[in-house]
Amino acid sequence: MYLTREEESIYDGSSGWANQTCIRILVRLGELFNAEKLIPIDSAHVSGVSYKTLGDAPIEFLRALADADARVKVRTTLNPQSLDSHYLGKKLPKHLQEPQLDILKQFKRMGLTQSLTCTPYYLQRPKRGSHHAWAESSAVVYANSLLSAWTNREGGPSALAAAIIGKTPDYGIHKTENRQPNVTVKIETKLKNETELGALGILLGKTVGDKIPAIKGLPTTSKDRLKQLCAAIAASGMANMFHFDCSRTKETEKLSVDSHQIKQTIEELSTAATNQPDLVFLGCPHCSLNEMKRITQLTEGKKVRAGTELWVCTSCHIRQMAGDYVKKIERAGGHVLDGVCTVVSWTEKLGIETIMTNSAKTAYYAPTLNKAEPLLAPLQDCLKAAFQG
């Protein structure tokens, strides 16, 4: 791999242990994937923030990096954490809160913004054609497919190393020739809502593996809804992007998806045998301002039923812009949790055994990560289940 004189000097340790370790990570990964050089990035997004998924092991490494004066060189955002201080923090014991705060503290020392969201593109939209090192898989697919910003699917540690060096190895989807579709998928049904788009994602993730599908027959719909496709395709498979049209596709493998397959996928993901779930959860990936508005409209005059919780997850950034919506949702008995991801939160410690959601990604992960049975349904049906009467 070609290194500039400056990079070589960092590699040899002239800028200290932290920078040396980080550039060694990037160079070794670059060698593994046949990159010829490092390229500058505009931003990084680091996953591996929730104490529930991280455990104690990473804290030592993060502290060692911060102690060795590691500082990010580009704007770097952070994925959601396992609890918030307003609501879940009050329900959970101290020994779960303190290590979480410690993790955030170490990231803060290194200069990462405490964005705590899986939707960093709502905080600052990346420019078309710009390069990034993002580690949240749903955001990776969203950025590549809907925003034309370029990023590989990083792991937590490699995104952090890229943030500290301000560069990433030039391989994979950072190269034009690797962004071409190599499988064509024809949708032979009209996908009606975000849940069906999510189910398509789960189905495609399983069938296309790490290929890039060109999807023909997607409905004209909002990015909010397509976000569900992005999250789900990344959850069940390794695809980093998809295309909408097939005009540029040469002869590729062809697949088709019909209404029966979509219905079957939703049924397979909905294993809870109840219509009164313990938790109704909206906001995976985190809600946009528009989604907050829509939830608020459907909440007017309603009251969350006893025995059911309603959680709406978003970023602190969107919450601040959504002041009135937050008030109305909370007046109806719902909880707007900012900076939290339900999938990596301690739901099982709160007695939650069934989760109803409009997110196929959540339904896909809930049985293993939350030890909960999911129910997958569109937004209106989720809210209907949350309310009395």
Binding site: R28, T53, E60, G156, S158
Partner: protein, 131 residues
């Protein structure tokens, strides 16, 4: 990756996930139905096809090293990002692109991470007939 060592080999035919698959408190493999389940990786030349699972696994490798529970070296058939990053931050010599079937558990092996060379210094004595 840099570094040399000589130690006893611990060989697995299965991929290893350091997150959830290895107990960070004692260095034992805890993944059920794994061919190394119950074995301790501390100070061994750990030989396995490749890593899998969460990238948090890299941090687990660092934590094991800080507690003196890390393997002395790692030999992989194919390198993957989780183990590669873990070996760098935990300072574990690592070699990949090797036919790992030639190494058996109990063999004494020398790993030279600088040159990318593995030498089998001593075969484990054959105590019985294997079929």
């Amino acid at each position: 990756m840099d570094g040399t060592c000589t130690a006893e080999a611990l060989v697995s035919a299965k991929p290893i996930s350091f997150l959830g698959g290895v107990d960070p408190a004692d260095g034992r493999v805890i993944e059920k139905n794994h061919d190394l389940c119950g074995a301790c990786i501390k100070d061994k030349v750990l030989v396995f096809p490749h890593g899998h699972g969460s990238t948090v696994g890299s941090y687990v490798m660092y934590s094991l090293a800080k507690k003196g529970l890390a393997p002395a070296a790692i030999i992989n058939q194919t390198a993957d990002p989780v183990v590669v990053v873990g070996a760098i931050i935990a300072d574990i010599p690592m070699i990949d692109q090797l036919d790992i079937r030639r190494i058996k558990t109990g063999d004494t092996v020398e790993v030279d991470g600088f040159k990318g060379v593995v030498r089998i210094l001593k075969r484990k004595e054959n105590l019985g007939t294997c079929t």
